[in-house]
Symmetry: C2
DNA sequence: CGCCGCCTTGACCACCATCAAGTGGAGTGG
DNA sequence: CCACTCCACTTGATGGTGGTCAAGGCGGCG
């Protein structure tokens, strides 16, 4: 089930709010994100699509996109025609089931994002994001040791968290000064994961990584049971 | 495909975070909500389940609940065993599809909630919620004219929006004073819907109400089957 | 009548937004 | 090799939105 892959430049929309979705998008490499634009010009980034768990099913059934999808850095993507998905749904219940499952995990991540924005102050919110990314990227082997690449600006981090760029900056400095985590030149380094997790109330259960058990060792397994 | 229905008292959990889900829950009457509890004791309400679009599928595939589900007022619910759902998924692609579709709409609502919390100040956030409820409840015939019942306290409204009770109260007073909307004794009255929608940037597209007309009569019954 | 939720009000202060200016590195062209 | 530019990050000052604490009103119900 291959389709032609496609190179997409940074900050290029894969599909925009209002479009009728004709394809399901899969991010092969790079990084993409969902966002909504407000009349005021402000932007809310809704979620990230990282290689590994990046299948975008939302699109298959709804009539019009209620949000946009863009690449944050140059990325390789595959567009799968709606019809192919429909066929899969009919004929390949196992694949269908896997996709559905991925959707559920996406939703769980969004629920945690709501908690993050609703209940946690800036520092903890950012800390929580870093913990989540760390665990998710480890799970797909995109992290060597304590650091990982997160090709985002502080402004974009602000658009994810609803914070101003200035405040993101100051919060990062504070985290750094406490010896918890640093974020420089698109690289996040987890200086003290467990304290960071404690600070931000991060508990990886919501990522539902167990059944995903691609990974044997390391963090994010307290759900193991 | 009927199952025994069950009466649930106000503030009783249908299922709690960490439980292994054995049933899918459908709210027949009343009002339920998803929430997460933080160590601090604070609570984030994630979404409402209103009669009409209240099927809770999240549960079928994941290993453990990452959030809790409770009734906000005395409600009638139906518990459908996991196995029944599995069978439906296998044998009744149309039903399965409808359920999946409902899940996608849920997700769209959550995306808008993220925008709400991330980008809008208190008054607009609350106004937007009221607009959404109004449209959704109208679509299922639960609103006569300009008002509808929303059996929630201001404290719970605060737990949905991440605001303190005090600030919710003051924001409500301000909306009321502007002649936009009132919320007294569990009844929301839309005094000026269009101005309220304009103020809060409400655009109902994300509710995907049009394509919902899978059903001949009246919106929002796709779960009925 | 009296209690108990829930709503309301006031005072005070923190978190975070905004505005504005300045630093520093990467890439470009002289 | 050195301007020069651009962009992201940084820093300071100021004020508003919204949190917290605390007390008071006001039904509803036993």
């Amino acid at each position: 089930m291959t389709a032609k892959s496609e190179e997409i430049g940074a900050n290029v929309d894969l599909i925009a709010e209002g479009d009728r979705p004709e394809n399901v998008h899969v991010v092969m490499s790079g990084l993409a994100y969902r966002y909504k634009l407000l009349p005021s010009g402000r932007r809310q980034i809704l979620s990230l699509l990282v290689p590994g768990d990046m299948c975008d099913l939302h699109v298959a059934l709804l009539g019009a996109m209620d949000h946009s999808l863009a690449a944050i850095v140059a990325s390789t993507i595959v567009r799968i025609p709606r019809q192919t998905i429909e066929d899969l749904v009919e004929n390949e219940p196992r694949i269908m089931r896997a996709c559905w499952w991925a959707t559920l995990v996406d939703e769980a991540v969004m629920r945690e994002a709501l908690v993050n924005m609703g209940q946690r102050p800036a520092g903890q919110m950012i800390a929580h994001l870093f913990c989540e990314w760390y665990v998710r990227l480890r799970a797909v082997g995109k992290s060597n040791g304590l650091s990982f690449v997160m090709p985002m600006t502080q402004e974009e981090l602000g658009e994810m968290t609803g914070l101003s760029t200035v405040h993101v900056n100051r919060s990062l400095q504070s985290l750094r000064a406490q010896g918890l985590v640093s974020f420089k030149h698109q690289v996040v380094t987890m200086m003290d994961f467990s304290r960071l997790a404690a600070l931000s109330g991060f508990h990886p259960g919501y990522l539902h990584l167990i059944s995903r058990s691609i990974d044997p060792d390391q963090h994010g397994r307290q759900v193991t049971a």
